[in-house]
Each structure stands twice: as C-alpha cells, then as structure tokens.
C-alpha cells in the first residue's frame, strides 16, 4: 500500500512538471523579455518573483522544464532505438558482428560520459542539437547492455526454443517473442535514464556549453543566479528545487515501475 502511495505522489509531481512545460512558458508573462523590476519578491503579479534582469522566474522555469523534457525524451527515444538494435544484434548476429559491437558497447559504457560530450560539443558547437547528440551518444550503451542480457536469458526459455524448432525466422522471433517481453522493463529503465539525461543537460547548461542564454534552462538559470546568491537566494532556489523534484520523481516512478514489472527486483 505504501509503495503505491509513493508511486502516486511521484507520478503527480512528474505530471505537474509536464503541465508546467506545456502551458507554463507563456501563461502569464514571456520568458525572454524583462517584464518587471529586477528581483521582485514572489507575489500575485510574479508568482516566483523576477530575476536580475526583471524576467519572470515562473515563465523561465516552465521553459526550462520544456527544454529538459524535450532533451530528455529525444535522447531517450534515440538511445532506445540504437540500444535495442545493438542489444538484439549482440545476441543474434554472427560473431564477427556481435563481438566487436559488444566490445564497443562495453568500452563506451566504461568511458567517462563527460569527455565524449565535450568532444562532440567542442566539434559541433554549443546549443540544443549538439547537446542532444552528445547525450544520445553517451546514453545508448546502458540500454544496449540491458537489452542484451534480457534477450540472452529469453533465448533459452521454452516458448522461444519451441518457436525456433517450428522454424520461425529470426526476425519474426525477435519481433513476436522477444521484444514484447522487453517493453515493461525498458519503460521503467527509461524513466530513470531520462532523469539522468535531464541532470546531464542541466550540468552542461550550468557549465555554459549546453542550452545558450537568453533561452532559459534549469542549468543556466542556476549558473546565472549564483552571482546574486547571497542577496537573493530565492532566485537560485527555484531552479534547484524544480530540478531536484523532477529527478527525484522520475527516479521514484522508474524504480517503482521496475519493481512491478520485474518481480525479482522486489
């Protein structure tokens, strides 16, 4: 019972952030233009106050949510596609394909993400697309590894062996008998991965090599707010809180989903 309570709470928080991302940015004020005096206190006019340039913090926070979710979901879709293909190939492809592929996956998995991200952003410049590219390149190996271990264990189950014995072609086996078993766990793991991606995007934006100002993202809001941290801690607090809430919520939902989908994890 307690588990469900946590799950509902975390899902609610996540839903709130999704709604914020969809409707928030232009709900009351724009997110780019100064609309009030710098550092207005939170109130009826500006729900969360204004920042050092007099821009509405709520609108910026909402746009940050949109950016984070956009990056998180795009990266996750790319890494799911690549990861599933590589993972399945790692089990079913002939050795000369699967062995180098899995070696590459292991190597990418061990290598520090930040170096690859810096390499990609260093070459292609800064902005939304290089960030998505950099994070997608670093995200797929964990999916590929998970898919590979799952597929390898499914391969020895009776239903699979039976279908194989009846002469089903490989592609049919994969689509009909392997993939349907994976959706649940992939959904659960995706939640956690999206949280990681959102965190990574914020780190890059915080460093000044991710989403570029004036477009707000949680990371560059934190970066901009820290110079006035002592006099106006609230401006720093909002993006930190929202980011933490998003990451916690996604992690909780993911973990709970996983324990529902995968009984061994309980």
């Amino acid at each position: 019972m307690r588990r469900n309570w946590v799950l509902w709470l975390a899902s609610g928080a996540f839903l709130l952030i999704v709604l914020l991302a969809i409707f928030g940015p232009n709900m009351r004020h724009g997110y780019l233009d100064p609309v009030g005096k710098p550092f207005t206190d939170p109130g009826a006019q500006f729900w969360l106050g204004t920042d050092e340039q007099g821009r509405d913090v709520f609108a910026r926070l909402a746009f940050g949510a949109r950016m984070s979710l956009l990056v998180g979901l795009t990266v996750q879709v790319i890494s799911l596609v690549v990861g599933v293909v590589v993972g399945v190939l790692g089990v079913f492809a002939p050795k000369w394909v699967s062995v180098p592929l899995m070696r590459l996956t292991d190597g990418m998995f061990a290598f520090p993400d930040i170096l690859l991200a810096i390499l990609i952003i260093g070459v292609f410049g800064m902005g939304l697309f290089p960030v998505i590219a950099a994070l997608a390149v670093t995200a797929w190996p964990s999916v590929a590894r998970l898919v590979k271990t799952q597929v390898a264990s499914l391969k020895d189950r009776e239903f699979f062996v039976a279908s194989q014995a009846l002469g089903a072609p490989k592609l049919y086996l994969v689509v009909k008998h392997v993939l349907p078993h994976l959706w649940g766990i992939l959904l659960a793991v995706s939640m956690v991965d999206v949280a990681g991606t959102i965190l990574a995007e914020s780190s890059l934006s915080f460093l000044g090599i991710g989403i570029q100002p004036p477009d707000p993202s949680w990371g560059n809001m934190i970066n901009q707010a820290r110079s006035n941290m002592n006099s106006h801690p609230l401006v720093l607090l909002w993006p930190c809180l929202t980011l933490s809430l998003a990451v916690f919520a996604l992690n909780f939902v993911g973990d709970e989903l996983r324990s529902i989908v995968d009984p061994r994890n309980r």
Binding site: G107, A110, F111, P112, D113, I114, L115, I118, L119, I120, I121, G122, V123, F124, G125, M126, L199, S202, S203, F206, L207, G208, I209, G219, I222, N223, R226, M229, N230, P233, L236, C240, L243, S244, V247, F248, N251
Partner: protein, 323 residues
C-alpha cells in the same frame, strides 16, 4: 610448482591488461583525430588568420603537412601526442597546448586525488558500518546519506554548501583567492566535498552490498564459531574479501570525479583542466579541447589499468583463475 607459475600468471595477466590499455589509448587518439578532422578550421587557418588569401592558406597547409593522406597524419598525430606536443592554441598568444595542460593538470589531480581518498575512506567505512548493523538505525542513516549523495546533483550541492558555510556561517571563502592565509586549505574544502559526495555514496552502497553478501558465507560462520572477536572478523576476514568490487569501482569513480571537477572548477574559479576546457569550448579552441580529452582519457585508462593490475595482487583467487 606453485610459486613460479603464480608469478607467471600474474605477469601474463598484467601483460594482457597493458595490451588492452594500449588499444583503448589508440582508440581514444583515433576518435580525437577524427574529431579534429570534422571540426571547423584547422591549424593552418589559425596560423595565417581568417583574412589570408587562399594561396597563403594552401601554402601553410602544405608546409604543415596537412595535405598528406590521413593515415600518415594519424601516425604523426599519435607520435606528437606521445611526446606531449598537442599543437598550439588557436587564440591569444598561440601558446603551446602542452603548456596550458602542464599548468592546469596538477591542480585538477590534486583535488581529484584528495577527493578520491576521502570518498574511498568514508565510503568504505560507512558501507561497512551499514552492513554490520544491517536494517538498524546505523544502516538506515548510512543508506539515506548515500541516497542523497547519489541524487543531489553537484551543482546543487555546491551552492548549498557555499550558502551554509560562506554566507551563513562565514567560515570559508566563496572562490579561489590566493591572497588568503592558507588558501590551499580553505578554498579546497568545499570543492573537494562536492566532488567526493557522489563517488562516496556509490562506494558506500557497493561496500554495504558486498559486505552483506560476504557476511552470509560459510567461512564467516566458521570464524564466528571459532570465536574471532567481532571487529577483527569484520575487518580482516570479511572486508578483505568484500573489498574487491569496491577497488574496481574506485577506478571507475574516476569518471564521476572528472565530471565533478569540470563543475566545481567552473563554480569556484579553480584554474584546473575543467576550467580551461570549458573556456576552450566557448572559444572553439579545438587543439586545447582535443588535448584535454586525450590527456584525461589517458589518465582514466591508466587509473583503471592500475586497478586491474592491483586486483590479482590483492586477491589470490583472481590470480589463479586468470588464463
């Protein structure tokens, strides 16, 4: 026969790891080389300047050997890099990149090594305590602490610690300030804590899990039956066995430390590798970017190599099973 063949096995294992390490290094060099090819602009353009004529640009390319086919240039690139020659920066005084790295690397290595010692020490202690007092208060406290450490991003932890210790309590300076007495100590406290938080948390969780597994094994029950005093049992019987995956993880936590160092150096204005790399990306100073990736990638491989070599030395079972 045991003695000589054991030594041989260890040597063989180490040799194999060295080959793997070398291959990974070459692979990293290849990736940075390709990145250099893809990046806009090249060293010849940087030398003659944006406004130069096409002829002088092509002449500079020929002179620098940039018109040669790529395999030859890759070999030269590897040879140059191995000698520590990474070319010159595209900007400012065209300083050799190796000079910038030589200045920045010691600082990063210092913070990273203090952080790794702190993270390993605290993490292993916390994890051991949690495992010994499994499911009791001590365990819950250690687990909550490590959950916080894993989930709080370090660029949120940074401002938080700074806010508490600098603005609120006034104990510590907010950024690197060489004029302070003992600047080394005071300004490093928060950055090191921020960097150590995440690896510490993961190491604590790993130690806990590994210790709990080990404490369930037969030899531990035997030791209890023989009447080994509790703490001696925990430390020299159980931990000695449980620590192996933790040692491996210390090597991989170097990756987290790297990420941490980029953020903390940027945050506190510490002139280390991370600081200069971000600067280089914002200026699109390709040689410096590639060199930092190459050097830090090299360090990562070397650290993990050392860990791999240390493992068979610590654990006779690995020694036996190898090859």
């Amino acid at each position: 026969m045991a003695k000589s063949s054991t030594l041989l096995n260890v040597l063989k294992a180490i040799g194999l790891r060295l080959v793997f390490g070398l291959v990974s290094l070459l692979f990293i060099a290849f990736v940075t080389f390709v990145a250099d090819e893809l990046a806009p602009g090249d060293a010849a353009l940087a030398r003659v300047g944006e406004k130069a004529t096409r002829e002088s640009y092509l002449a500079a390319r020929r002179e620098m050997g940039l018109d040669q086919p790529w395999p030859g240039r890759f070999v030269k690139y590897v040879a140059d890099s191995a000698r520590g020659d990474f070319g010159n920066s595209y900007f400012g005084a065209r300083e050799p990149v190796s000079g910038v790295i030589g200045r920045a690397l010691p600082m990063t290595l210092k913070i990273a090594s203090i952080a790794v010692v702190l993270a390993a020490g605290l993490g292993i202690c916390l994890g051991t305590l949690a495992a010994v007092y499994e499911n009791r208060f001590m365990d819950r406290a250690a687990l909550s602490l490590s959950t916080l450490g894993v989930t709080i991003p370090n660029f949120v932890l940074g401002p938080l610690l700074l806010f508490v210790f600098n603005s609120w309590l006034g104990y510590l300076p907010s950024s690197y300030d060489p004029r302070l007495p003992q600047p080394e100590f005071y300004y490093l406290v928060i950055p090191v804590l921020v960097m150590a938080a995440r690896p510490m948390a993961t190491l604590a969780r790993l130690t806990r899990a590994s210790m709990i597994d080990t404490l369930k094994q037969e030899f531990v029950r035997l030791a209890i039956a023989k009447g080994v005093p509790p703490w001696r049992l925990y430390i020299s019987h159980a931990l000695r066995n449980a620590i192996l995956p933790v040692v491996t993880a210390i090597g991989t936590s170097f990756g987290f430390l790297l990420t941490g160092s980029f953020i903390t150096e940027r945050f506190y204005g510490i002139p280390g590798i991370g600081y200069y790399t971000i600067d280089a990306i914002q200026k699109r100073d390709t040689p410096l970017i590639l060199a930092t990736v190459l050097v830090t990638g090299f360090l990562f491989v070397v650290v993990n190599l050392l860990v791999d070599v240390a493992l068979p030395v610590i654990d006779p079972r690995i020694r036996e099973s190898q090859i």
